[in-house]
Assembly symmetry: C2
Amino acid sequence: MAEFYSKKDLLFQLFENQNSLELIELPYFSDHSEETFKLILDAAEQISVNSLYPIFKEMDRNEPQLVDGKIRIHPKMKSIISQFGEDGWIQSIFSYEEGGQQLPWTIHLCAGFIMQAANYSASVFPFLTTGAANLIRTFGSKELVDRFTPNMYSGKWQGTMALTEPDAGSSLSDLTTSALPTEKAGIFHIKGQKIYISAGDHDACENIIHLMLARIQGAPAGTKGISLFVVPQVREDGKPNDVLTQGIYHKMGYKGAPIAHLMIGSKDACEGYLVGKPNQGLKYMFQMMNEARLGVGMNAVAIATAAFQSSLAYAKERPQGRKLTEKDLNKPQVPIIEHADVKRMLLFQKSVTEGTLALLVYCGILSDKISQEENPEKKKEMHLLLDLLTPIAKSYPSEMGVQCTSAAIQILGGAGYTTDFPVEQYYREARIHPIHEGTTGIHGIDLLGRKVLLEEGLGWKLLQKEIQKTVQEAGEIENLKELTKGFEAILNKFNQGVAQLLFRMNLGPEKYLADATLFLEASGILTVGWMWLRQAITAQKTLSKGNSDQNFYLGKLETARYFMEYELTKIEGLLPRFHSKSFPTLDIKREWL
Amino acid sequence: MAEFYSKKDLLFQLFENQNSLELIELPYFSDHSEETFKLILDAAEQISVNSLYPIFKEMDRNEPQLVDGKIRIHPKMKSIISQFGEDGWIQSIFSYEEGGQQLPWTIHLCAGFIMQAANYSASVFPFLTTGAANLIRTFGSKELVDRFTPNMYSGKWQGTMALTEPDAGSSLSDLTTSALPTEKAGIFHIKGQKIYISAGDHDACENIIHLMLARIQGAPAGTKGISLFVVPQVREDGKPNDVLTQGIYHKMGYKGAPIAHLMIGSKDACEGYLVGKPNQGLKYMFQMMNEARLGVGMNAVAIATAAFQSSLAYAKERPQGRKLTEKDLNKPQVPIIEHADVKRMLLFQKSVTEGTLALLVYCGILSDKISQEENPEKKKEMHLLLDLLTPIAKSYPSEMGVQCTSAAIQILGGAGYTTDFPVEQYYREARIHPIHEGTTGIHGIDLLGRKVLLEEGLGWKLLQKEIQKTVQEAGEIENLKELTKGFEAILNKFNQGVAQLLFRMNLGPEKYLADATLFLEASGILTVGWMWLRQAITAQKTLSKGNSDQNFYLGKLETARYFMEYELTKIEGLLPRFHSKSFPTLDIKREWL
């Protein structure tokens, strides 16, 4: 049994709380079955237990180094990446014609969850390649597909996303990497710098294939003038393509994965191959963005899950102190899991990790359904709902993952602060997620400034409808009436607060968006509260049937209660801001700080 | 100018917002003046800028190692510790007869704040020695004082506090290190293990003087059978005293300070010298505990302050994006300090760091007054108030320091996650404080289970009276009426919640204390809110006088407003728990987790 995640809970989420098997009724996925899904998850567990988890600490202690212009990573990564390729992980979600398995993205995401919980750094290599290959196969010419994707699928070549530049991080519209047309159609000379490129260079693959954003000479300013290119590190003839690794970033955590600083075309000899049409680069990227962002959300859930499991195991074993009602000091000490405050910290982690796993599985299934939906009206609605949920499902797990891993350290006390236990590494690794794929602040603005407003608020309305359905269902179950009442009370207050926030639109964009991050936070709490109501319904139904493993389901009910009473209530602390007409964060001047 | 703290704010806290000069009216401190206080703070800044800050990163990158049974620390620490000794830092708060300067502890604490902000790891050595020496001089015989303290004051010998054992961390009553009487009075053979001993061994001093808790053979069980011993590493004749360094802990942060695992008396040849009377050890320790805990609170404020200053400087320099109202992409990017969400994160840090600095200065002055108070009734009252404030002033900065340093990383984005900037180191270092000197959970129980109840709640009443005085004063200032109203509204709700919590005493200790950590959190927010009301009064008064440096005081007013509207309101998210009659953290069974 793997110690870094709960297989039982993952199967509960996929097959009991939500029905991922609905997907196999869709023609594209129809060769699959519960059995194939489970085989794939077993395979993910196997590679995780056998190859990834054993080097989890090692990869942190021996971080990649730049030696003679090449980044050297952990020597075992070469065989691991090969295995990812051989086992078909990289193209598993692609079609049979492409050598894929037409696997639902949901299952791919959950397989990734297992690997990320085992060793986050090691897990990112194949997922980056999948993302890069997906852009080529979706938007690129047949020539590009044939030339690049087979070696990417096999794990021989690494794929990357090369977006960020020294002066364009959150503000992609300011990127300046240039593309100069050559005589040959579709081939450009690329020149510029890219920073923070994950797996941007390493010695475990023979070539690195960058999916790079750049601006074709004369293109319009801003986001409308950005094009997407394939920029390999090594050309077809085996010669270098003038992509130099200028530096490597040393990071607080997630150290096993190399992050590179690249100089592109410094000798004016870098060829890039245009993907799709000119000036459509950002649009292409953004069509992959929901999956990428949900992927980051899942990374965060995975790390927090591993930390939870680690602190739970410790709390069950470690004796310290006695129950408050025990006065006899000659009695032995009790395991710390008996103390209310330790249970609180465990319930906090359990409620966040299992609640967000439920949310990501929900989003995964929605995404798979969208990909196969033929009714345009229905497809649009589902898309709006997923668009709305994406910043939430990215940010809430990311922000809370930081707090969960912190709670895991706290449970271990001084031991948790030492490198003798893995929780401090989880804590360091978890801190990247509120930054990756758009900071939390950016997602707040995305949610309140864009997603909530799309199509006259249709996505928001759809979310409310879905939540209402759950409330209705839960309210009819005797045992869940109290829980449902608690949820509904906060839901109503939340919606009144949102109405107040929307009024601020009259005051202009700055005031409207001043508290967008807090709105995102409250939306996250509410959404995960909804997920807990769903889980409580499922658990109660199973219990009513007299399932033999009562503990698991009773734990779900109690954790739902914890979430409603300790986490959902935090919305009350955010609401005063939504009703406020005062804006200290706008009024403060930089000279006053 | 030092870049890791705001000297202006420190002087504001000591001489304007609170009047530390009241202390020089007390005979013991009467040789001091504003000038001597400032000279001492300048000296602290000087050693910080010249010696501590320059090796802040180095000490993290080259952590201490155990080589041939001896811990080797950064080579510069030898001369730094000597300088601490020569400059009189170690015994500065002690009396003239002892070679001290009769410096108020408040000023010592604030000098420490500067050093800790510069380099937390380097700063702990002299403070540990001061604490250990203080126990010897207060409770030890003249012989022990004469034998040990002079070399401790000079920095030649290191002092430590040796409490924790493998099976007794939070539960000190379970410690088992034994003390066997010898023929010589006051000399015992000590045998046992101590873990997590800060500066427990290193090569920058010639001897390590442990103030160690142990149990004299036949002593009663529990805390009533614990005695305090001086256990030197090297005996008077220069021979080893059978204190072996069994191991060194490698930690996530705060790496420059060595934490040792000690084997004591494994060859039955360790001598310990009894301090004071038998079985009084824990009582002695606890008489020093307020200062030790407030010291940890200050460490947390210091690190969070350094992180705040670092992210503030970055936010002022780093261009990224444009104002939401700016549609012209040809306009240059603005510094990120112009974005509302960045300002929110800066205000968060500013409000927490300056609010907690105010609280610790308040506690420091109170502590100094207590030490000189001769009226026993008054002394008792002041003591009750300080006892009550101590868990708050330790825990709120510790818990919020974690969040502040996290916000500092977030402001820097990807850059903040790299080791190119110091914020990631602050984040790693800050994580120790919710653990040091009692975990947050322990302090919650201490506050609600003990401090609130002492003398029929007299301490609590005194705190409320002090808060009311401030509310009254602020309410009379036109410009602060709105602010005061906001504070009062939450204060009233908080007090209603507290009354509900107190009712739970009827339900037994487990239910009464189930939410003690949340009560501690709410008390922390309220107390710091009170500190902001005080600062707002001071700032408004100065502004009314037409001070030339308006920016500083306008910043104080705006930050007070931020705190009331964004932080104080978080109490609303905690209150539902105080009114609840349901206890998920008690009801959950370990098999369900």
